[in-house]
Amino acid sequence: MEEGKVYSPDGVFAHLAMLEAQAHEAAVKQEEKEQQEEKLARLKARVQELRAQRDELRAKVDLQQKGQLGKEGVVSDPAQPSARAVVEWNIKRIKAMLQVFYLTGISGKLTKRGVCFCISTAYEGTYLDSYHLDLLTKPEEVQIHRHSIPIFIPLEQIATKYLQTDIRRFLAVLSDHLNAYVGRRYQADQLQEHFSNQIEGTLQRNSLCNLLVFNYNVSKKSQTFPFNARLLYGDLCCSLPTEVIVSCTPDAPASLAARAAAHSDAFRRVALHKAFRSFGSAAESVDGAP
């Protein structure tokens, strides 16, 4: 009976269609397989190419290191360098020199209509934000075209006083403000980052970072924050506070309250995070005493 079905017209067509579908599927699979093999071959070749490049470079760098081991002085390229190489060397040298200017605090670039200055800031050895000031020096008076100075820095005041008469002085005063602001902010950030378990919640500060208020303790194990500090930085060009008030909660032990004056003194003289470090070691030495 089934044989009869296969040999009927419908059965034959169905069978042919099935064979066709099978062949098609096989062709597709074959093509896929070939594509994957091709891709694999390409990847393998690329790996070989890169490995060879890498090995060549390693050998070159090794040779350089060996060549420099015995000599401290400068060495000229033994093969006669092309004029292009000399020019490119000089370009790199000058670029490096311009980067050094960045480290001095005032750098910049000449523009068609004036100069674009870059004021860099740092706290001790760590360089922090840099700010740009695009000045137009033509036709007559100096104008600030664009800048990235934060709005709470008194730029207009400083400009009114110095910009037209002494640009150097203008930049120096602006740099003082910016460096002091960034220094205050850095100290607050360091305190928050390294002593977060000794501070209740987060440090309260304004955008200019010249008013800080926080509750703290000196022991890392204590759960309460008996001290309250209020630091006011009256001099905007200074990163140490001009006014410090440290108070202690009324229910704190007398020994703790006595330290408030010492803390206040420390905050006035030393950077915020460094003062905290000194409290920590003082507290430990007291705790360790018999």
Partner: protein
């Protein structure tokens, strides 16, 4: 064929490409830092450069582009030196460590601000994190001409201790101007 094997090769390709990039930078840094050309050599090269490469276009910048770039950089540098009063007479840099996100360079710098000369050595650590590059100065050593002055030597040692390179330069500027002013005043009275 499973995709796992493709991933293995692709990962290796990426890591090799990074390594090649880093080694290339190391090689070029080292070439740059150990080479020195005198002013005459530089001038001669600039002159012959345009003749040599007339019409060449290898995908490199054209001679006139390079020359324009050089002139623009020289103008910027000379402006900064005149404006700030800080003249660098020599600068040498040696890359002592270079990885994908960390570069340490040893710098030697000498120069003068008006009539006050200085010599500096420091290490600059540059680290690449997610958003930006951070720069930190360590091992700062300063030699100043007017080092006998006790105020100056106190300033120099506290600056060295804290790695305060920026403060050094800003204070140098105002000190040098004051010193210059004082010098002229004394000369006037001689």
């Amino acid at each position: 064929m499973d995709n796992g094997i493709f991933q293995v090769y692709e990962d290796e390709i990426q890591s090799l490409e990074e390594e090649v990039k880093l080694l290339t930078e190391k090689y070029e840094d080292s070439q740059q830092e150990s080479t020195f050309f005198s002013d005459e050599e530089i001038l001669m090269s600039i002159k012959s450069f345009q003749r040599e490469f007339q019409g060449e276009s290898k995908g490199h910048e054209s001679p006139s582009d390079l020359k324009a770039q050089l002139e623009s950089l020289e103008k910027d540098l000379s402006f900064l030196m005149k404006f700030t009063g800080i003249q660098f007479t020599s600068h040498s840099k040696k890359t002592v460590e270079k990885t994908r996100d960390r570069t340490v360079g040893k710098h030697r710098l000498s120069g003068h601000c008006y009539s006050v000369s200085f010599q500096l050595e420091f290490q600059l650590l540059e680290m690449q994190n997610k958003e930006n590059v951070s720069a930190v100065i360590t091992d700062l050593s300063i030699i100043m001409e007017s080092g006998e002055d006790s105020d100056v030597s106190k300033f120099v040692s506290s600056t060295e201790e804290r790695g305060n390179l920026l403060t050094f330069f800003r204070s140098l500027s105002s000190y040098a101007e004051w010193y210059e002013h004082r010098r002229f005043t004394f000369l006037h009275f001689k």
